[in-house]
Symmetry: C2
Subunit: 269 residues, 2 copies
């Protein structure tokens, strides 16, 4: 099944850009009258009939629309420090898109070895991963910001229960609710994966996600090869981020990022 | 932290092969008397002192041994069909090793486009991923076998409770135990990720893993791009494999494999 991405939709008419038109008409040899599947990158899939098979600018009319096509029941922002090797970051972008992510923010930490990041390639990879995995929503790849900028952007008054997590899940009415159980559904759950060498206060990501309701917003920060600086970690916790660990395995930055995104995805499976 | 892999250990003496010796002495410039960390690939880490810094065959004496170093509390066999693009399979091998896997079996399905598989490169990748992620146990990469050969190799009399899974987790004493709760710890939990187009009998991998005890043995089969053939799937179910799904996202073969391995890992986190 082949998906086309349309950036312009007017009323009932879909306009494919030059690249998508060429792929549709030249490569796949679709002709006027053919049925094609188009996604708008915002969550809507449209079954369309090709009305103009121009390879420079094809158009199609919408026959049927499906909202939230290939979507996931949560909203996930992954703020991940660029890896030394760019391919590894792009691999994370592809896998997170396949599994289900909404926003990817390249964040530059004080200990990041890579201080610059080109978003163009990652956006291309997210686009093809969206089409390949039959999703209608394109993850937003933000321009890089510093870890501290991102934290203050995400900042909210830290509630005691969130800024000082217990060593295990919280029990409410005798049931494991986890920290998420304390957060109101409209609250964003903010997690920072940090080694906190020697510190005892981290909980597992599984405990942090316990009781997370459908529709929850989650933000997860993943540090660079050299981890976050203690000051970045302190700032994150002061601003309501819960320090979590991903278990005993020592994971590369991009593996940690995909593992964390997968933990959120599997919570709703 | 740099790890060396020793294939030969006699009593208290560790022998590094030519490649590891050259890396230790030529690249990292270790000299007799230096302390190095050696793993045996079977789960044991040894803190050693270099006694001979020959770049062709270095030796070291063991100062301290740690069993089960960097291990995980389960035994996981991943039987995954080779991907059309070999890099994607090697990526799965690297990530599964980082997260925690014991045996990887390249299985060739009736619908596999790639019928041959070279194990050498995957073994090299598993070795470097083991060292990079500070583990002492090297995943075993088997020679490729057909899906049907693998199923008969794994075969056991299917117990009704395992071959005919309910549509949800099993409740024992009012607690969600999942299917694994029914299996005795010494039983192997066998899962097959299969699209079963239109079939209703699959449960989610999360439900299948519920109640899985520490030390459990798990085998997971992942099909090729074209999925397992109906006959392969039927044979698997007849032989005690539980058909599971990985949720709503449409995942590539290698992504499905890493997601399934991550689900097992996170179950114990």
């Amino acid at each position: 099944m082949e998906i086309f991405h349309a950036t312009e939709i007017q009323g009932n008419t879909v306009f494919l850009d030059a690249e998508e038109s060429a792929h549709c008409v030249r490569v796949l040899r679709h002709r006027t009258g053919d049925e094609i599947t188009v996604v708008d990158g915002n969550g809507t899939m449209a079954r369309c009939r090709l009305t103009d098979d121009s390879p420079k600018g094809a158009t199609a009319e919408i026959l049927e629309k499906v909202e939230g096509w290939g979507g996931h029941p949560y909203s996930l922002t992954m703020a991940v420090c660029p890896t030394k090797n760019n391919d590894r970051y792009e691999w994370f972008v592809e896998k997170a898109t396949e599994v289900g992510v909404d926003v990817i923010v390249p964040v530059i930490g004080e200990r990041s070895e890579r201080k610059v990041f080109k978003t163009d390639r990652s956006r291309k990879i997210a686009l093809s991963a969206m089409k390949q995995s039959l999703k209608a929503k394109l993850p937003r790849i933000e321009e890089p910001v510093s870890v501290k900028e991102f934290i203050s952007f995400e900042a909210k008054p830290a509630s005691p229960s969130l800024s000082l997590p217990p060593s295990g899940p919280v029990r409410v009415n005798g049931r494991d609710e986890g920290l998420a159980g304390l957060a109101r559904p409209e609250d964003k759950l903010r997690l920072i994966c940090y080694c906190f060498e020697g510190e005892k206060e981290r909980i597992s990501i599984e405990d942090a996600l316990k009781g997370l309701p459908v529709g929850a917003e989650v933000t997860i920060m993943i540090g660079p090869e050299g981890d976050f600086s203690p000051e970045e970690a302190r700032l994150a916790v002061e601003n309501g981020f819960i320090p979590v660990h991903l278990g005993p395995s020592r994971l590369r930055t991009e593996t940690a990022a995909v593992t964390a995104a997968t933990a959120v995805y599997l919570h709703f499976v």
